[in-house]
């Protein structure tokens, strides 16, 4: 009997089925916890699911590549989901158009701040050069950030992790911060969240309301494009 279980495990650990299934299970479990907590941002579903998965993979001695062979099917959907963001954007187009200048100014200021402040603080705190380079694109969505990190000589998979942490921090911190600032415009809130913390922030912004989510999606798309231009241009300063 124990031998059977061993054999089953040999099969499972070599097949993409397990990686895919545990990803979906971990997320659904995490989402349930998040809902039970009354949508407390501290119970962020990404944070809980990732923690559970890392513990499980470490405990079973499964390496990340084996896991990713299955999880890549979920990861792949990031592309079509990014394209799909055009729809809420279209729905909110009128409001976006009426706010063209604030949107452009906020984009430029926010994008520069995100890059420069991340690198500057890390440098002052004594981070290594490769860590600084990996940090530069941390505010944009995973596939874009990884591409940028690769181009400037950072570590793409480290960047992916930093991007996720940034997203969770933004999702956690944005509303309390805005409350202190007495900011009550869902469009501005959403846009700032989208600039600072990409898709995870956008997911959070959609919970505020649809307008907030649409502006977050817009910010995330624009910031992805602008950061892809700015970081290579600032590369000289970053790798000083």
């Amino acid at each position: 009997m124990t031998q059977d279980i061993g054999q089953i495990w040999v099969y499972l650990s070599a097949s993409p089925l397990l990686g895919l299934t545990i990803t979906l299970l971990a997320y659904q479990g995490a989402y349930r916890i998040y809902q039970r907590s009354g949508c407390n941002p501290l119970a962020n579903p990404v944070l809980i699911a990732v923690t559970a998965l890392v513990l499980f993979l470490t405990a079973t001695g499964t390496d990340y590549e084996t896991y990713f062979a299955g999880a890549q099917f979920v990861h792949f959907l990031l592309g079509p989901a990014t394209v799909a963001l055009a729809i809420p954007l279209y729905t909110q187009f009128k409001r976006v158009r009426s706010m063209l200048w604030p949107v452009l100014a906020g984009l430029l200021a926010g994008s520069l701040t995100a890059i420069v402040s991340a690198v500057a603080v890390a440098r002052m705190a004594g981070a290594s050069a490769s860590t600084q380079l990996s940090l530069a694109p941390k505010s944009v969505t995973t596939p874009i950030a990884m591409g940028i990190a690769e181009r400037i000589g950072g570590v793409p998979s480290l960047t992916a992790v930093l991007v996720i942490i940034t997203g969770v921090l933004g999702a956690l911190g944005a509303r309390p911060l805005f409350r202190i600032m007495k900011l009550r415009d869902p469009a501005i809130e959403g846009f700032a969240i989208g600039i600072a913390s990409h898709g995870i922030g956008t997911a959070r912004a959609f919970q505020i309301n649809e307008q907030s989510g649409a502006f977050a999606a817009l910010a995330m798309g624009l910031n992805g494009a602008l950061t892809a231009l700015l970081v290579p241009a600032l590369r000289h300063w970053i790798s000083l």
Binding site: Y27, P45, V46, A49, V50, L53, T58, Y67, Q72, V74, H75, G79, P80, A81, A84, L85, Y90, S98, M99, P102, V103, A105, G106, L107, A109, T113, A114, S117, V121, A122, A125, A127, S128, T131, P143, V155, S157, L158, V161, V163, I164, I165, T166, L169, G173, L177, M181, R184, D185, P186, F191, A192, A196, G199, F206, E210, Q211, A219, G224, A225
Partner: protein, 119 residues
């Protein structure tokens, strides 16, 4: 759902092809989003199927970040040895970015449309 998913993939693919053939620094999916956005304006809105499929996909946007996030297990060492600079950088930078973006937008916003209407 099938045709909507196909449409999304076609836009992603065309974004990818244009980005690569013109050597643009903008990633393919973002360009695909732009193309779809333009198409929606030309067409006057998404069909019901595309609307529903996109809504379903975006409802669980967080799920799509889980595989990449789990990659932290590969970098536990680098993250562990530089955790303080990393944490300081991420917290300070994220907060500063949120504040600067919101303030700049608020300053640029003409006074009459200052309050966001919710539907």
């Amino acid at each position: 759902m099938l045709s909507a998913l196909t449409q999304l993939l076609i836009f992603q693919l065309s974004g990818e092809i244009v980005a690569r053939s013109l050597a643009l620094p903008i990633p393919g999916p973002v360009l695909g989003m732009l193309f779809l956005f333009v198409a929606l304006i030309l067409k006057g809105g998404p069909g019901a199927e595309l609307q529903t499929t996109s809504q379903n996909l975006l409802m669980h946007l967080s799920l799509l970040f889980v595989p990449a996030g789990t990659g932290i297990m590969v970098h536990l060492h680098q993250v562990g040895s530089e955790w303080l600079p990393l944490l300081l950088s991420l917290i300070i930078s994220t907060a500063t970015t949120l504040i600067v973006t919101a303030l700049v937008m608020k300053l640029c916003l003409p006074a009459p449309v200052r309050t966001g209407e919710t539907r």
